[in-house]
């Protein structure tokens, strides 16, 4: 044990020494900041130094923080595409940080991104919200565009939200056109609001084509347990479903199995058409073109606090490319629905909407607000499965 002690302490010393050697330049800055008596002191110092700049002004980098891996053909993949798009259209660098838990660890990651020059930050998960807000208050020169719609926004902290229910409604319609058995499977991860809204909108969309359609929803409790996804897909197909809509981070497995069993599958939050064009139907994906102008404005020093929320019309969200087997007929029909949604003729959650027990969720003719839709905590009529 004695020996181990010495080894360890020496090891630490070595690490420290190496650190000091490589980091001596920055060390001196440090001495200055840590010379400040309290934390608030150093914060105000940075505030005054950059007080004249608007949030995000002159940013050379944007930071994107995601909860999973960017190659997942899912939610995070969409954010990786934002990075590509920003690089292509605005010519600025996008820095991606993956696998950040939705805990206060976010603050550390965010500070790190800011210290590396990111002036615009996109936190992708709801769980980051509170911590992103904390960081935003410390760094008034950094523009934040945080994802779900909440009442946190103010100052340099904007919230953005794409109406995922609109593409999911179209997905539902497409599923109903495809399903010969009248049964459609939905593989959710965890019953967070995004998932609940999606499965509800999906069902409503399907019912708009075939009122008797049944949506069978199961939850796997994790975002990427491919083993469980396999079991779920197989069982849903065995129980008579012929179209599967996964709400998972990694949908490759579901698509592969559907391909091998001759069923069709949707994607989730990313265009995975190339995986298997014959099995692929479509997916709800974020349309970044609606957001780019805001990023551009922020870089040009015209940042304004926004509470963005919109769907097809505002170019915040869209449907991925339809699969090869989707006939032109179907495409025409779907485009029609899309146009109606854009013009407001179709409002996805327009009442009457009933929950599973048959009780009224939204009364006849009522158009719930986005906030109300996001607070939906029940499955609509026509879904089998449960949320707890």
């Amino acid at each position: 044990m004695k020996k181990n002690y010495r080894i360890l302490s020496l090891l630490l010393v070595l690490f420290l020494m190496a650190g000091i050697m490589t980091g001596c330049v920055k060390k001196t800055d440090d001495a200055q900041t840590s010379g400040q008596p309290t934390g608030s002191g150093s914060t105000t110092a940075s505030t005054t130094a950059t007080g004249n700049l608007k949030p995000g002004e002159g940013s050379k980098k944007i930071g994107i923080i995601m909860g999973g891996s960017k190659d997942d053909y899912g939610f995070n993949y969409a954010f990786a595409q934002l990075a590509d798009q920003v690089q292509k259209e605005l010519g600025i660098e996008a820095v991606i940080k993956e696998n950040v838990p939705t805990t206060s660890d976010f603050e550390g990651v965010c500070e790190e991104l800011i210290s590396q020059g990111c002036k615009i930050i996109f936190p992708s998960q709801f769980g980051y919200l509170e911590y992103a807000h904390n960081v935003a208050q410390r760094h008034p020169d950094v523009a934040f565009y945080s994802f779900p719609i909440t009442d946190y926004n103010g100052g340099n902290f904007s919230t953005i939200h794409g109406n995922a229910h609109e593409p999911w409604y179209i997905n539902g319609a497409l599923a109903a056109m495809y399903s010969k058995t009248g049964k459609v499977g939905f593989i959710g991860s965890l019953p967070i609001p995004d998932v609940i809204v999606s499965v509800d909108a999906f069902t409503l969309g399907a019912q708009s084509i075939n009122p008797k359609i049944q949506v069978s929803a199961v939850f796997t409790g994790s975002w990427a347990d491919t083993g469980l996804q396999t079991t779920a897909t197989n069982q849903l197909l065995d129980s008579g479903c012929d179209v599967i809509a996964p709400f998972q981070d990694s949908v490759k497995t579901v698509i592969e199995i559907c391909a091998s069993r001759g069923a069709h599958a949707f994607g989730c939050n990313a265009d995975a058409y190339s995986l298997d064009p014959k099995t692929w139907l479509s997916a709800c994906i974020t349309d970044w073109s609606g957001y780019i102008p805001y990023i551009k404005a922020a870089i040009d020093g015209k940042y304004e606090n926004v509470n963005l929320s919109g769907g097809f019309k505002e170019h915040f969200i869209t449907n991925a490319k339809y699969g090869d087997t989707v006939t032109p007929d179907m495409v025409t029909k779907l485009t029609e629905i899309r146009k109606k949604i854009e013009s407001g003729d179709i409002y996805v959650f327009q009442g009457p909407v009933y929950d599973q027990s048959g009780a009224v969720m939204f009364k006849d003719g009522y158009r719930p607000t986005i906030q109300e839709i996001n607070l939906v905590n029940k499955l609509v009529k026509g879904v089998t499965g449960k949320l707890n």
Partner: protein, 304 residues
């Protein structure tokens, strides 16, 4: 009836990777070493096996490379626990995290790749001529892939090896009384090495089965604790290979039920169904441990 087939088929396919890891770990534990590193072996096997399958479209190469990768992790475990006398549990954890990092590092380019044309590469399902016609069981049990068929035989092979051959006896003697092994003129250390590497190799093949055949894809940390479960299940089958079927398919059944209960709207909390595999393993472990005196290898008694 169709439901039964479904559950059985899912049970088999979910249980097969576990069965490989379980049998592997059982061999290791018979020699007195617990390999928590089977988790790491499975991960490496899954990642590298999938990579090879994508690159070569050859099942044999995929299995061999996966087995090799798993075996390497097994070798590290053997070296650390046998030669360096480090804590078996700790080294198992370290190797698991090591494998996790390594596969995330090198498996990145595999994340988006689909295996495409699986059936042409000998990965597809083969129906056994007569047996597959049996109602219910036929489709579930005898319309499977080649690795599953091998896994059917694996516990039997190991059973004969352990109980009917001289080498099996020697393997067990290492776990019970290494002095006896020495007296017979064999080197207990080498045998332990062999057993632990074998554990890694089999777990690696389990990993290949999982990524290439079962889920048809590679995802980060896709093994997700199945190696640990396999280790726990070794105790459940009281170190007897013939009980491995029971133990592994118990887990498979639990996972099949996870979804089955949800599809059929059984009024059980979703979270209870999700924790079923772990819960069932735990309950079964308690049941076995309390009802019978387990026939634990002597050497393990010191560790456990």
């Amino acid at each position: 009836m169709r439901d039964l087939t479904t559950v059985l088929a899912c049970m088999i396919s979910a249980g097969t990777p576990i069965l490989y890891a379980l049998i592997g770990d059982l061999i290791g534990e018979r020699a007195g070493i617990i390999s928590l590193s089977v988790e790491g072996s499975m991960l490496c096997g899954a990642c590298i096996g999938f990579g090879t399958a994508v690159a070569t479209h050859n099942m044999l190469f995929a299995v061999l490379s996966g087995a090799l990768a798993g075996g390497l992790i097994g070798f590290c475990q053997a070296f650390l626990t046998i030669d360096r006398k480090s804590n078996m549990m700790a080294s198992g954890f370290v190797l698991m995290f090591f494998a996790m990092g390594l596969t995330a590092f090198y498996g990145r380019s595999l994340l988006n790749i689909s295996i495409g044309g699986a059936n042409s590469a000998g990965l597809g399902k083969i129906a056994i001529p007569v047996l597959s016609k049996i109602p219910v069981l036929g489709t579930a049990l005898f319309t499977q892939d080649i690795l599953t068929y091998i896994s059917y035989l694996l516990p039997l092979i190991v059973y004969f090896f352990i109980y009917k051959t001289k080498y099996g006896l020697i393997l067990c003697s290492v776990g019970e009384r290494p002095e006896v092994t020495l007296a017979y003129g064999y080197n207990p250390r080498l045998i332990q090495y062999g057993a632990v590497i074998m554990a890694g190799v089999l777990a690696g093949i389990g990993g290949v089965q999982m990524s290439v055949i079962y889920t048809m894809g590679w995802a980060n940390n896709m093994v997700n604790g199945r190696g640990f479960i396999a280790t726990a299940l070794v105790i459940l089958c009281s170190w007897k290979p013939q009980r491995a079927y029971l133990a592994a398919y118990l887990f498979g059944l639990a996972q099949a039920l996870q979804i089955f209960l949800q599809v059929h709207s059984v009024p059980v909390s979703m979270y209870i169904t999700l924790m079923l595999p772990y819960l069932l393993t735990l309950v079964a472990l308690g049941f076995i441990s309390s009802s019978k005196k387990p026939t634990m290898p002597e050497k393990l008694k010191i560790v456990i």
